[in-house]
Symmetry: C2
């Protein structure tokens, strides 16, 4: 009766019970020793440690997390499958999730579904926290709905520079500033700008950087050099067409993302302009499109996968803190960007307007 119990154990790995029996203590005591808890007498601890070493025992991670309720599920809610952005984002967060031993649940949000429905779905699905890539991170309704059900969230690449929401981002303003400086340093003084979708706060930061750089260089901001875009290729076509149709068009155009920069290149070509000979074009984000088209785009590299990795890490820490009832201020990480020079920029072919420089 003691021998023929129908154990399902495949592997002869020693269990905590084996250790307990050999050491002459209860499994609970062994558990305490393993977890380094205080309430164990040194003598007992030594005995248990010795037995563990002798049996070459290793605790089962599976049983541990089952019993301890340590499993965490974090959701990644995306809405605008901006292809190249998403894939890099996914790779980064997956990697970090696996490292942190957390489950990553990827969820798509169609614009038709109500915010409430998605949040309900997340809640019922035992999601412990959410990562919000753009443009969701700027959707106030979503942020508030999550806050309402007390679900921790991390915004990625938002333009909101601070606040109650944890965030991981780059300094969009500074990056745009640097790119504009770069164009000015090349000799451009007539620089166009294509704005991003106003539903993302990063758009505003980028515009600010552009304006600031012009101002610092003593160049005037010309309103008709600034066109509204929406981060899509299509919107870039319209914006570029508008700017290039001006009587005195700019010699460089800085688009708020790579898609619109690519569209600008297309319009330039259609107008018989050489890029970068007749027109310098640069983008933002360094998505794969930047190196897909010809000429390859000079752009700002956002460390997308590093950002998503960081987002997972931040979220995990928030969840751990919350479990221990600690309340911490929401983290706010700013990662480094980088100006990547490729083939789409050059000094202006024509000399700057007489009087354009002192």
């Amino acid at each position: 009766m003691s021998d023929s119990r129908p154990s399902r154990r495949q592997r002869n790995a020693p269990t905590i019970n084996d250790v307990a029996r050999h050491a002459g203590v209860s499994p609970m005591t062994v558990s305490r020793v393993i977890n380094g808890e205080q309430a164990v007498r040194p003598a007992t601890r030594a005995k248990v440690d010795a037995t563990i070493a002798a049996l070459n025992y290793a605790p089962s991670a599976a049983a541990r997390s089952l019993a301890g309720g340590e499993e965490m599920r974090i959701g990644l809610l995306y809405s605008n499958p901006s292809a190249s952005y998403l894939s890099e984002f996914l790779v980064g967060s997956l990697d970090q999730a696996s490292r942190s031993g957390v489950h990553l649940v990827v969820e798509k949000w169609d614009e038709q579904t109500s915010v409430k429905a998605v949040v309900d779905h997340l809640t019922r699905g035992r999601i412990d926290g959410v990562i919000l890539p753009p443009p969701l991170c700027d959707l106030e309704e979503m942020v508030q709905a999550l806050a309402a059900v007390n679900m921790p969230a991390v915004a990625v690449a938002t333009g909101r520079s601070a606040g109650d929401l944890a965030a991981v981002r780059i300094d969009d303003r500074q990056a745009a500033y640097e790119m504009t400086r770069h164009l000015i340093a090349l000799g451009h003084s007539r620089i166009g700008f294509i704005k991003g979708n106003p539903n993302q706060s990063a758009s505003t930061r980028r515009l600010e950087g552009y304006v600031a750089a012009l101002g610092d260089a003593g160049l005037a901001v010309q309103d008709d050099y600034i066109a509204q875009g929406y981060f899509t290729y299509r919107s870039g076509l319209d914006a570029a067409e508008h700017i290039l149709a001006l009587a005195e068009p700019p010699t460089a155009i800085f688009a708020s993302n790579d898609d619109m920069a690519a569209a600008t290149v297309a319009i330039a070509h259609r107008n018989g302009l050489d890029v970068p000979g007749d027109l310098t074009v640069c983008g933002f984000d360094d998505t794969s499109l930047a190196t897909t088209i010809w000429p390859e785009l000079t752009t700002i590299r956002q460390p997308i996968s590093a950002m998503s990795r960081a987002a997972v890490e931040v979220l995990v820490q928030m969840l751990r803190a919350r479990r221990s009832k600690l309340e911490a201020a929401p983290a706010h990480l700013v990662l480094d960007h980088q100006l990547i020079r490729r083939q789409s920029d050059a000094p202006p072919r024509v000399r700057p307007k007489a009087g354009g420089r002192k």
Copy 2:
């Protein structure tokens, strides 16, 4: 008494029991559905699947591996981050991996690393099986290296129509055939073709379909209407330039993927041709690029995420079978494709050459 049961559960995680209760079946049946076992009636399976989706349930890896099912880790090895393809691929496989309760480990292969090094890495990482998206599925060296270490693999979107390797794909030949028929039905008789990278066997299938459709319509295959491409935008530019420079250029160009079709549109515009007025252009794959550019591309939709989903499922079943020492013939799934008509095709503007029709 019913209310105050001392549950240790922190969060209201849906468990297999919740699903079972909601679906009106036993937990065992749910377990069977999750694991894709055979002995479940389709109606029951559907009901359970629906409940799983509704509750957003995902099995607990911990409990599962504790209960005896070993933990499975499957690798997704990608090399050419074809952005839009990858992200859709990831979303599908992630979703299915979560449903099947297996870990998905995403691994990138730089072309510099030796095949041996990657395979070693997988082995040491205790990866039980691998999914190979294109172009890796056609890299004979990789396939053989995996076979050498006895690691199960599933090829996705390969052109190999059969063999020792499990595969999930569409019928590339038939799809290309249909697209070509479509162009012929529109009235085109001078149809150009841009080939895909010869390192992918699907390229050959697509060419075959094109040739077969022309043949069946009694149209001659003109060698100079066929240009070599490599699936990149850049290669598409060259190919399209070549074809459109002919004395009597085609009225339609069928590119082997969307990137090259987009490049063709760019060249056409540069040459002052209207698409589709002067030139019909169509692509293949229906990646996001197809709807990014203007005009949006008529193309063949590959159910990418369904394919990656299926690949995970197939791999899991292979691993299960192998665990039970069963040896089954490698599965070979062919999923349905679809011809998506958008704005890039139209009947030819000029009448077909005299005599071109009876």
